[in-house]
Amino acid sequence: MSSLRILVGCKRVIDYAVKIRVNAGQTAVEVAGVKHSMNPFDEIAVEEAVRLRERHTKDPASGSPKVEEIIAVSCGPAKAQETLRTALAMGADRAIHVEVDEKQAANLQPLAVAQLFRAIIEKEKPHLVILGKQAIDDDAGQTGEMLAGLLNWPQGTFANKIDITGDNAMKVVREIDGGLETLSTKLPAVVTTDLRLNEPRYASLPNIMKAKKKPLVKMTPADLSVDITPRLETIKVTEPSKRQGGKKVESVDELLDKLKNEAGVL
């Protein structure tokens, strides 16, 4: 292929830096009034797509193909559009929002998302799909793999480095336990990003402004004929047990006493 169309996934999740709280009914985590932002692995996915484009524009002789279009896709509630605007500000060209209501979004499961992506991919016909290796809210880490399975495409998961050469071939360096593994495959393919693939850029103000004018199309699961009914049931959500704070002791004797009588380790 002479030029590449890339599709990236962007999920809106509770901000990485926010302290998570479980709701009173222990059915889910609190989301109301909590800061949300783009899943960090998806930021890496958008960044990688933009870098692939820049690799060609900066040095057409590099062998890296021209990137014709970067499409950002998010399945989520109305506010997922903010996340898509961020992707557009980082350099995506247009966006697709598959809108579900807040309640459905809270329980949108990997298989449903993979099916929604498949439906979009069948229409948009990208050559490369880049997703995060996991979303930091549910930590399921399944969507990319399921999508590759549904499409019957090759997959390069936990990518640490991606190289595409002219003739449809891609090399993906993967992070695996204790080292790296290099895979070669043909496009089209699905890649999922790992932490060290790149360091995402900050969206600049001029680009944030331009992003407001970039096209963003909205659709529903019904438009894509996908049934998003959950297959898994959450029984209970609980917080990890709290760590006890440390204490200072005044003397060795006091330390020994505490080790013996409070901690019971001596």
Binding site: T86, L195, A203, L205, P206, M209, E250
Partner: protein, 535 residues
């Protein structure tokens, strides 16, 4: 990706590591008393004896007294262990105290001062020891009274937002504590992980939330103070309004330990904003920094919570110092950077205002490029650039720090004029490392007319200091500024008070001091110019 402490907007839950102390040359700084030979030890002060130390050991628990003097019941402490209390954060001052006291209760503080008052032992109160004017460390052999062990929260009322706590609570822990109950401390500064609320009050600290929440003179509702003779002044009021009698607590806000020791604090914490956004902007001239400021004041009025600026030289030092912890957020280099933070309660509302404002300042050409935080980690990263400047300058070299108030239009001229003067004197050449002065840098809280002028030298030397002082103080007096905006006077600026205050003010201050501390044992040699022997 950087692993960054959990924040919602600004730091919320975990703590920043205590500030790294920039280490100076291996040999360490020279003794303050040698560096400033004009300072003479006051002969009326008693020299510490092992009986004194024994007495302190009776008041305090054994681990709470560190002394290089042995007593019958305890061996001497290694001098090394006292070093941290004798030397300041910048490595500029070094005292020779032989005794560090770390009381846990107000009653203990009272007993210590009562004794020191009777014995004429001079005392330096010490908080987090992050002060930048040499106020928190002894000059000669003063006893150091550290508030480190007084760090309990006494009460918090979520209805009024009033927090009552010990003076030795670290600012950041207090902020984390009130955050749990949806409140925010009305002040925040780069030293938050180490400085104490008592130290903040004693220096009348400003910092980056000043623009939004104003002065400690407004947010502090009451203080508990141990006076030099041991009397406990109980004024821990939790009332917002109280117009009965002289407002004596105000005297201790900014008294830098010269009138007594603050042991308890009552302070009002505002509701914690739920959404925050930070922009870092690249600006081509100081003129445009001002225009951006005016536009921000007019258009972001109720949501703006900080307006900070720094220059290229500051940015270079931060990036060099930070290594992989930070990167230049903008594609090109700019002579000036502005950081604007908004804080509010409804994201859509704030986003709309902020983005309209940013569009306007870009369209008008005040701002050339910029970045806007998309998540909490980016907020931390952008603030890191501003908050690391102080540390980065000191890591670059011994730093002469001036913290001054100047009307906004003239603010940056002080940096330019200082650069010019040092260049003319052959002490500095921009971009060259071969001169006595490496960097002349300006940054600060423009929103509060507050400039930090930092002169980074190869070493602290009389040549450089005499090039800077009194030049800078005269410059400030000529522009009707203040020689200390928020860092206080300490040892560094005591002799120069006359550049900001007239004789009637200084004399009245001296009379207060005489009244409260007749033997002058509290933090001597600092704060006020030596009194003409008065009646």
């Amino acid at each position: 990706m950087h692993l960054i402490r959990p924040v919602q907007g600004r730091p919320l839950t975990t703590s920043t590591p205590s500030l790294l102390r920039p280490t100076t040359s291996q040999a360490g700084p020279a003794l303050t008393s040698e560096k400033y030979p004009q300072l003479k030890r006051n002969p009326s002060f008693k020299s510490l004896t092992s009986e004194d130390v024994s007495h302190f050991r009776k008041i305090l628990s054994p681990g709470s007294v560190l002394s290089t003097l042995a007593t019958p019941d305890a061996p001497a402490t290694e001098a090394e262990e006292l070093h941290a209390y004798n030397s300041d954060w910048m490595g500029k001052y070094l005292g020779q105290s032989r005794c560090i006291l770390r009381p846990k209760t107000t009653e203990q503080v009272s007993q210590i001062l009562q004794y020191c008052h009777a014995q004429r032992l001079a005392v330096v109160p010490q908080g987090g020891n992050t002060g930048l004017v040499g106020g928190s460390v002894p000059v000669f052999d003063e006893v150091v009274l550290s508030l480190n062990n007084m760090n309990k929260i006494r009460s918090f009322d979520p209805i009024s937002g009033v927090l009552v706590c010990d003076a030795g609570c670290v600012l950041e822990s207090l902020d984390n504590y009130v955050a749990e109950q949806d409140h925010i401390m009305p002040l925040d500064l780069g030293a938050k992980g180490s400085c104490h609320i008592g130290g903040n009050i004693s220096t009348n600290a400003g910092g980056i939330r000043y623009l939004r929440y104003g002065s400690l003179h407004g947010s502090v509702l009451g203080l508990e103070v141990v006076l030099p003779d041991g009397t406990v002044l109980e004024n821990l009021s939790t009332l917002r309004k109280d117009s009965t009698g002289y407002d004596i607590k105000q005297l201790f806000i900014g008294a830098e330990g010269t009138l007594g020791i603050v042991t308890g604090v009552s302070i009002v914490a505002p509701p914690r904003p739920k959404v925050q956004t930070v922009a870092v902007l690249g600006v081509d001239s100081y003129e445009s920094v001002q225009k951006t400021f005016i536009a921000a004041k007019q258009n972001l009025t109720e949501i703006i919570s900080a307006f900070e600026f720094w220059d290229r030289s500051s940015m270079n030092m931060v990036l060099a110092h930070a290594g992989t912890n930070a990167r230049d957020p903008l594609a090109d280099e700019y002579p000036f950077y502005v950081l604007i933070e908004t804080s509010g309660f409804k994201k859509e509302h704030d986003d709309e205002k902020f983005s309209e404002f940013l569009e306007m300042v870009m369209e008008k050409g005040f701002v050339t490029d910029g970045v806007l935080s998309e998540n909490a980690s980016q907020i931390t990263m952008f603030w890191y650039l501003r908050e690391t400047i102080a540390e980065a300058t000191v890591k670059t070299g011994p730093t002469y720090k001036y913290d001054v108030s100047i009307p906004v239009p003239q603010l940056y001229n002080l940096v330019l004029d200082t650069r010019q003067r040092l260049t003319d004197m052959g002490l500095y050449k921009e971009g060259s490392a071969d001169y006595a002065v490496k960097e002349v840098t300006g940054y600060g809280h423009v929103g509060d007319s507050n400039l930090h002028l930092n002169v980074v030298a190869k070493e602290y030397s009389p040549t450089v200091s005499s090039a800077l002082e009194p030049f800078i103080y005269e410059w400030i007096a000529n522009h009707k500024g203040s020689i200390s905006a928020e860092h206080g006077l300490g040892l560094m600026k005591a002799p120069y008070l006359c550049y900001s205050k007239g004789p009637s003010m200084i004399q009245t201050m001296q009379r207060f001091k005489q009244l409260m501390d007749p033997h002058g044992i509290m933090n001597p040699y600092k704060y006020l110019p030596a009194a003409e022997k008065s009646a």
